[in-house]
Amino acid sequence: MIVAIGCAAAFSLGVYAVLTRRDVIAILAGAELMLGAANVQLVAFALSRGGDGAVVSSFALIVLVIAAAEAAVGMALVVTAYRRTRRTLVDEFGEVSG
């Protein structure tokens, strides 16, 4: 019960971060929050339902790795966008025409 509430809280905080942070990197951080919370909830839920620890762990592992890859690509995008437009605020990207 505690894990569920905790993860839900973390996840919604992530959502809040994505919606309110103007800084792109902060948005990515928010995304990380959501991913992490989801992963923990996933593992907790699987185990609590008597899932085999190994299978759950492997699954969570793969999720973790993919999330990391996503974060990396995200960061790359942010950096290049910054270098090209000298802006990091998400709502200012539109102003600069290609």
Partner: protein, 602 residues
Amino acid sequence: MMPLWFVLVAPIAVALVIAAAGRGPVRYTRWLALVGPVAAAWAGAERLADAGRETGVAAEAVSWFVTQTGSIDVGASADPIASIMLVVVGVVASMVVVFSFGYMAEDASQPRYFALLSAFTAAMTGLVLSTSLVGLFIAWELVGACSYLLIGFWFTKPSAARAAVKAFLVTRVGDVGLLFALALLWRETGTLVTADVLAAVPTLAPATITTAALLLFVGAAGKSAQFPLHVWLPDAMEGPTPVSALIHAATMVAAGVFLLARTWPLFEASETARLVVLIIGTVTALGAATIAVPQTDIKRVLAYSTISQLGFMFAALGAGAWVAAFFHLVTHAAFKSLLFLASGSVIHGSGTQDLREMGGLGRAMPVTAATWAVGVAALAGLPPLAGFFSKDAVLDAVWVHAPVAGAALFIASALTAFYSFRATRLAFSGTFRGAGHPHESPLVMKVPLVVLAVLAATLGAGSWWFAELLGGHAGLAIPIAVASTIIAGLSAVAGWALYKTGPAADDRLAGALGGLWRAAAGAYGIDALVMRGAAASERGAATASERFDTRLVDGLVRGIAWLARRVGREFNELQSGESQLYAALVGAGAVLLASLALWLGR
């Protein structure tokens, strides 16, 4: 025996021929216009002659509308009152046509004139002969249309055009009343053949009878210019004088009385309806008589006199003596058409209609003066002329039925004598006050005058024969006769003597009577009121159409278009390029849908 369908169809055919022939042969084709009236008179006389033997020719009816539940038939047949009316219409129309040969001699569009006259005769005979109320209604409106076309004959004169429209619309108000009377009778009795309707009267509810009778009376009041629908008749004088003589003295205006006579059982069964007719008749008689006194235009004097005399007839009807009313109708047709034709001859001769510009025409136009005198005496009700007998019958009936109304009618007949002799004195004695020098009318105009004068004088004798034919009480009510003669005589002499000094007498009287004189001259402002109402309604309709139609209804439609555009603009603000806004919307959508699913699935 002259077939009825010929009496109806001949004048229409003649009208078409005259119109088609055009101006060229009009001198000859106009004589054709006599065919209709003569045929009518002939047919009427024939039927009256053998009236003793069998009542009416078998009605030739044909069904105009056929439905499973019943059919609306139209037919023609001549019963006694129709035959009499045929004779009246025939004689007067013939005289008017002959008179018009002279009067309209140099008018440019004579073909149209004579064609319309012929068409009018056809319509009038149709009205008289019709055995079904629908046929009567059809002829009724056609008569109104012919009157419209004839009043507006000189349509280049704006006042004539306006008078024609006014006449048509006011009579149309009456016609709508008649239409709904028919609709009510159709609903109650399921048929519109006059005989069947009247046969069914006893079975009808009193309320229905009264409503139907009153609606019929509205139609009659419209056509016979009774108060308050009388405003059109004085203006109808814009039309040529022979037209006024035919339509606005003898035939059309009498149609109202004829209608009530035709549907008499309906009125007989409803006390209240008769009371209304009596009141309206008396009020009109007295009111019109007072208005006629100060009039300066000779034709308007006669117009108000006609309204007044019709008031007498309706009063008699109200009092229950429809035979007296019908008899007065016949005599009135004779002497009033005579007076109108004589006034036409006076106008033709002296070139003016204004009594103040006339004078001394007695010497210049002896025949016209003589015939006018006969007419005026008959109008005033001096014995032994026709007017005396018929007016006496009317006065007797009304006095017996409702003394108050009787007294009012006595006063009205006094006024009648007064204004008729005033006009006579102003027009025919003293010296000519107008420009130019008046001349007597040609023979073709004098003959009708003489014929009508003879009729006006001798018709009185017919009262016994008349009563016996139609079932009224014969004989003369001596006391009434004596009283009316004295009153008529005194006021005639007063009228004659007072105007020794010519028009100046008017000013003295105006001084004496003050406001009353001027009010009477202006017909108590009713006419002005009606005209202002009509003009206001016309302007009202224009602004209403502009405001209601274009703004409200169209506005509504344009409003919807505007709304669509506004909502569209609101939504495109959402595509502002802010990615976070999109994310928020996605989030919101997800939450909503999920909670909905949860809620529904619980």
